[in-house]
Amino acid sequence: MAHKNLKVVILGANGTMGAPAGAVFAGASFDVVMLARDVGKAATALSGAQSAARAEAVGDRIKLGSYDKDLEKTVKDADLIFESLAEDLSLKKTFFERVDNCRRPDSIIATGSSGLSIAEMARGRSDSFREHFLGVHLFNPPQVIVGTEVIPHAETDPAVTKRVCELLTSRLGRKVIVTRDRPAFVGNRVGFKVLNETAQLAEEHGVAFIDYVIGPQTGRAMAPLATVDLVGWDVHKAIVDNVYANTEDEARACFRLPAFMERGIKGGKLGDKTPKEGGFYRKNGKAVEVLDPNSGSYKPLEKPAPIEFVEKMKQFNREGRYSQAFNVFAEARGAEADLARRVILGYVSYALNRVGEVAQSAADVDSIMSYGFNWVPPTVVVDLIGAKNILKLITHYKLTVPPVVEKAASNGDKLYSGTMLDYGRTLVG
């Protein structure tokens, strides 16, 4: 695939990811065709792409069309078909059948699915289709978040995977990792384990408390439950249900959706996108209210009473003294510190134990958590606290010791390959 005048057809172009993905491709000088159910919806896709790019001129490289009229005639000329339809396997398969019947034999088909089985989507298609099919998981919003997962299935031609990785890196400025075709891949598997665990803990400890003790100071741009509201409770449920149903690992229980969220979703409570019903938080005029998970009612959000180790961590992060922040974290006493450490050490343990199973290396896990989630890379936590200390804590909390941590504890190696200039942004004051 030459690096000029590449043609991309986007299916589901008016969706949450399809429209900004159009902006990302057009911004990298691809000729883009955005397809939707009808021309009106395709026009919505264009305006979404223009908002994402903050430029009407992004439309100079975008053509619009509908599935009925334009799919076959545009797909036959496309170098890349990027599928961004709803997360519905049978719907996707119906479209892939149509694409299979008209695509050029050397074109690449990528699904933007955030966790469905890549192999399952390709099942029943032609040999050529299967060899040229893979997952390209962008994170939302893709024009801002550059972390990207590329997911080949067993029959994907390795040359196709390589070409897509090169293209995403050099043309689209993405930070790419290649993952195995396992539920939710690496980023969402690790990220939603932590997010759902905090949702479970909210039932006992309260929403505001959890977002305070496991807040941005522990290495994330946004507190975890506020993140679930931003993602949407329905999307959250789809991801954790998929992992819960299709994986058997040491932390499977962390993926069980709390009953209060199940009830909330049934009542239309989906987070930020349903401002009236709310999520963990709800706006009431200018005031912010917080959910009581047990009763389902809301009360005014009050600033949690300061906890010494949290405040110290925030101050150290504020001044760029990250080692000191994590020393405080490792050594703080009390039930609150214990709870926060259990979750953060759980993150480190779970993330680094995915090496070999889903991720190719610890550096890949670091990359996707840092550039996909804006979370502190797990190996940074190991280096800041010290591998020997981490080993003790992981054992203390009866978590699974990742082999890379065991090795680092015995040979004294640092695990993170970058510097403070790379991870500093993830440690919030």
Binding site: A55, E56, A57, V58, V144, R318, L427, G429
Partner: protein, 411 residues
């Protein structure tokens, strides 16, 4: 001009200019520590070896309600306790003034190893308030008070002055913008590396590309940026020992080959009136370039492989093109049309993306420019490397062409 003792540039580091320190809950000392610690790591210099530190910063008093910025250098490492520090301010040229002060100390033989830091935190306030703060780089009472976004208007008038004297087409300014954004896509630390830009967007006034003042649209402007950069400057004595440690030859280490520094009257109208009969619109800026080339022993612009210039607005880069002597006065458009200034062109300008693409943390910019020249002449600029860059130059401007600083960097 008497020949002075050489000043070597050992390398350094910068923060990612896409960051927002306010959203990160950071005091500026945090990212400043990251830049200095990153520079120590990149150069393998021990903190105890550093003898003096100079910090370039424009307006921390306004943006962060904090003065005495030089003293914050000591917060990086206890080994710095006791060393002399100072803070330098000349608006957007603050970073270069810090470099000049540090290099003067080395030339005078006072110290052998200096750290120069540039730092500005700007995203603490909304754009209107920030625009007002930047107005203090002009004569505030006369040129900025009560005016929304005074600087785009002042640099719009620089374009108007070109238009009046020589003619100026906005399409050439749009092209300059598009080139800077395009270059920034290759720079992994550039603020706009993932932003959309095209020449047609830069040419068109729209809701996403509003006019800010006069002929200046959003796409003509540099960015509001949080950023810090740090570099190490050394005497021949220290550089010789440092080179030995790293199995390098002294001749492999870049030097400041020449410098220029002039100040024009603060008010834009006074500048223009003074230059009325001059072929250069900003003659003091031209003289700064001439001085730097002369001190460097550079016979002309054809000896320069790459330039990092002060494109606070597209009009200032347009001005730099003829003032550097790339074209005759008033003919900058020719270099724009012929692709001279683009990557792969005869003389690439702002391979980093410049202030428009890479970002413009005001008091940091001069230090960032010198760090980029160091990268270019050591072949360490990665995707934005100018093939075979040997002798390079930078122009850093404070105010509406008020303070001009030029450095020539090479081996």
């Amino acid at each position: 001009m008497a020949k002075s003792a050489p000043v070597y540039i050992l390398g350094g580091a910068q923060t990612d200019f896409a960051r927002n320190w306010t959203k990160e809950g950071k005091h500026f000392v945090g990212p400043m520590r990251e830049a200095v610690l990153g520079a120590l790591e990149a150069t393998k210099i021990e903190p105890k070896e550093v003898q003096t530190a100079h910090v370039g910063n424009f307006a921390a008093e306004l943006y962060a309600h904090q003065g005495h910025i030089g003293a914050f250098f000591l917060e990086v490492d206890p080994a710095f306790y006791g060393i002399p520090t100072s803070r330098h301010e000349a608006a957007c040229a603050s970073g270069s003034i810090a470099i000049l002060a540090a290099s003067a100390e080395i030339e005078a033989g006072r110290y052998d190893l200096a750290c120069v830091v540039g730092m500005e935190q700007m995203k603490t306030v909304d754009s209107t308030t920030g625009g007002d703060y930047l107005g203090t780089a002009a004569w505030y009472e006369k040129e900025a008070k009560g005016i929304e976004f005074p600087f785009p208007k002042l640099f719009g008038r620089l374009g108007d002055e070109y238009d009046k004297r020589y003619g100026l087409k906005d399409e050439h300014l749009a092209h300059i913008s598009a080139v800077n954004y395009s270059n920034a896509k290759r720079n992994p630390l550039a603020q706009t590396r993932n932003w959309f830009m095209s020449e047609s967007h830069a040419q068109t006034e729209s809701k996403f590309n509003m006019v800010i003042g006069g002929r200046i649209k959003v796409s003509d402007c540099s960015q509001v940026t949080d950023g810090s950069a740090a570099i190490f400057l050394a005497s021949e004595k220290y550089a010789t020992e440092w080179a030995k440690r790293r199995s390098l030859k002294l001749a492999d280490i870049p030097r400041i080959l020449g410098w220029g520094h002039h100040t024009a009257p603060l008010e834009f109208d006074v500048k223009v009136a003074e230059s009325r009969d001059n072929q250069y619109v900003l003659p003091h800026t031209r003289q700064t370039i001439v001085d730097a080339f002369k001190r460097a022993g550079v016979s002309g612009i054809e000896k320069i492989s790459a330039i990092e210039t002060h494109d606070c607005f597209t009009t200032s880069e347009y001005m730099a093109i003829d003032h550097f002597g790339i074209t005759k006065p008033g003919e900058s458009w020719k270099a724009v049309e012929e692709g001279v200034i683009e990557m792969g062109g005869k003389l690439p300008i702002n391979p980093s993306g410049g202030l428009i693409g890479a970002g413009h943390p005001v008091g940091c910019t001069g230090v960032r420019q010198m760090l980029d020249l160091h990268k270019q002449v050591t072949g360490a600029a990665g995707e934005y490397q100018v093939e075979g860059a040997k002798i390079t130059a930078m122009l850093n401007i404070g105010g509406s062409g008020t303070t001009s600083c030029v450095f020539v960097v090479g081996k």
